[in-house]
């Protein structure tokens, strides 16, 4: 299915749009569907967490002072060193992960699209300035800078909210995508059909929204789909270093807690990390499937 441009079924269908064709290819790709399944499960966990989990979030009262208890039937993932049921916390962690991934990616998506479009379409001095800034941000040690910001602003406001971390990750994560968008816009702008539009006197807004944007969005969607997974991981690594709010169910923060008892009570780090892995894997698999579906001629 990866090698043919169009399957037999597709050839019979005529007059389908880009996204409809992509969907036809996507749903035949078992690999991508597995990714959908993995992400779907996490969404399910996030929405129905209170129903799935046997204990409430503040389950310290239930475990009656038991700490570091290995996995058993009653506590499938064991109990951590603060007396919390690891299974309950891991399931609730899906909420934080998806929230963080979607929020930060929404920010990068918007900024990358805006900067790339303006820079690629206008060209000239604006392009020069924006791209210099983008290049500078690309080699800026933003990860360390984000840690510094979180610490300082967190100390000032007496809190390290996860929303704040996600927004920072989003604000610093767009340069790569902006470059991709700019390249694509530049390429499309030089193509005959856009020049034809200009010759026919089509308005600028119409050219941008009707002819250039549809050619840009698929690439940006694919790169941001990988981005969701990557950013979930990035935020988890920050909270893992101990910069997050320890009272929030977050996989990174849970793994940070478990580091002290890493070897004697491995279940506190292994299970949250495994869920993180499955989530990132799911988003990457969807991204691969989307890349195949939206651009079948691509050599992969």
């Amino acid at each position: 299915m990866r090698f043919s441009l169009f399957s037999k079924k597709e050839k019979r269908q005529k007059g389908l749009g880009r996204w409809e064709l992509a969907w036809l290819r996507f749903k035949e790709n078992k690999f991508a569907l597995t990714g959908c399944f993995l992400v779907g499960i996490q969404c399910f966990f996030a929405i129905f967490a209170p129903i799935i989990t046997p204990y409430s979030l503040d389950s310290e009262w239930y475990t009656q002072g038991l700490i570091n208890v290995p996995p058993s039937l009653e506590h499938p993932f064991g109990i951590d060193k603060l007396g919390r049921d690891v299974f309950t916390w891991t399931i609730y962690g899906a909420r934080t992960a998806l929230y963080v991934g979607l929020l930060s990616t929404a920010i990068t998506f918007a900024i990358a699209l805006l900067v790339g479009l303006v820079s690629g379409y206008l060209g000239g001095l604006v392009d020069e300035i924006l791209m210099r800034f983008t290049d500078a941000l690309m080699i800026f040690p933003s990860y360390l800078f984000i840690l510094l910001l979180i610490k300082i602003l967190g100390e000032l406001a007496y809190g390290f909210s996860i929303t704040f971390i996600a927004i920072l990750i989003g604000l610093f994560g767009w340069p790569g995508d902006a470059r991709i968008v700019r390249g694509q816009v530049k390429m499309l702008k030089g193509m005959d059909f856009v020049e034809g539009c200009i010759a026919l006197g089509v308005s600028q807004t119409r050219i941008i929204f009707k002819h250039i944007l549809p050619g840009v969005i698929p690439i940006l969607v694919v790169s941001n789909m990988t981005g969701i997974g990557w950013r979930i991981m990035e935020v988890a690594s920050i909270t893992f270093l101990g910069f997050g709010d320890p009272t929030i169910c977050d996989w990174g923060a849970m793994m940070n807690l478990g580091r002290d008892v890493l070897i004697s009570a491995w279940w506190q780090t292994v299970f949250p990390g495994f869920f993180l892995f499955l989530t990132v894997l799911g988003f990457n698999m969807i991204a691969d499937g989307l890349a195949d579906a939206l651009n079948p001629r691509l050599v992969r």
């Binding site: 800026f140 040690p141 360390l144 990132v280």
Partner: protein, 327 residues
């Protein structure tokens, strides 16, 4: 554009970038949050808790915080350019001296990891590209996907649990044993401590580099000049190793800068996990202790390293492939 002009242009780009980086750090430290105020609010132990207003003013004067922000920035920048990064709140030592103590360990880790990455990624990527759509290729793609999805800090913890916890083969912490070196030899002991961090560090960028090399190779073996070489009757081995490989590795040289940047993230997390005494570890520790002069110094030093890395990779790229200078 001549070669010299190209280099000049790159340097002209790096200088404003460096000023931007330092300005950003300074603004965050001094406009958003005044380090002294933060320390005093928290009743910092080094200053014995809360102070009277007069003492606070005296403190501000002592650290030069009574001057306007822009003036302080230029004083700070001037000092940095002369290698004076101030004094650590905790260790009471010169910041640059502390950083220079930790820096060699980071460089050692990064360089070894980079070499290992290239040594694994290049042969595997080339082999997979030459056997496109074979079972090996699909296995390779699967590995790349796994490598891109596996959270590296979780992977590090798994290795720790397995190799130093249950098997007890490898040390879990530091760069040297506290007592009893392995076989009584310092060098061997150090290498023994390097195994886990280097492998995890290599893992951080491995998937990305492998994919890039495979994709480059796939494109290059379809180029006309390679087909021409085949038509001339050159041996496959010669074509691949002498002509195609060189062109496939080239983009990696150009991307050494960004790869170095991605290792920044890796180093702070990996060094913290393994207690590796590098500047990533020092950075996290200094932030958690609110030892801000050290944190600021590390970001500046890191920026300089990354900027220099970018410049070197640009120059190398221009030397290998003169077309770059034509743009």
């Amino acid at each position: 554009m001549s070669f010299r002009r190209f280099i000049f242009k790159r340097i002209m780009f790096l200088i404003p970038t460096f000023i931007g980086v330092t300005a950003a750090i300074f603004i965050v430290m001094n406009v958003v949050g005044n380090p002294i105020a933060i320390l005093l609010q928290r009743g910092h132990s080094a200053y014995g808790g809360y102070l009277y207003p007069e003492q606070f003013e005296r403190m501000k004067q002592l650290y030069g915080l009574d001057k306007p922000v822009w003036e302080r920035y230029f004083i700070w920048l001037f000092n940095i350019l002369h290698g004076e990064f101030g004094f650590s709140f905790f260790q009471g030592r010169d910041v640059l001296g502390i950083i220079l103590d930790y820096l060699p360990f980071t460089l050692e880790l990064q360089v070894l990891a980079l070499i290992e990455t290239l040594m694994i990624a290049i042969p595997m990527g080339v082999y997979a590209a030459l056997n496109q759509y074979s079972k090996v290729d699909f296995g390779f793609l699967f590995l790349v996907l796994l490598g891109a999805s596996l959270p590296f800090f979780w992977f590090a913890l798994l290795l720790l649990i397995l190799f130093s916890g249950y098997l007890g083969w490898l040390p879990s912490f530091g760069a040297f044993s506290l007592d009893n070196y392995l076989f009584g030899n310092v060098v061997l002991d150090h290498l023994w401590h390097l195994i886990l961090p280097v492998n995890v560090m290599c893992f951080v960028s491995l998937a990305y580099v492998m994919r890039v090399i495979r994709e480059n190779m796939l494109e290059i073996i379809k180029e006309d000049y390679i087909i021409a070489l085949k038509a001339l009757g050159l041996k496959n081995r010669v074509i691949i190793f002498k002509h195609a490989l060189r062109a496939a590795i080239l983009p990696i040289v150009a991307q050494l800068g960004p790869i170095l940047g991605s290792l920044v993230i890796g180093s702070s997390v990996v060094e913290t996990i393994f207690g590796w005494p590098g500047i990533g570890f020092l950075f996290v520790k200094s932030l958690l202790n609110m030892d801000f002069p050290v944190s600021m110094g590390i970001i500046v030093i890191y920026s300089i390293i990354v900027l220099a890395g970018n410049l070197i990779s640009d120059v190398l790229h221009a030397i290998i492939d003169r077309r770059v200078t034509l743009e």
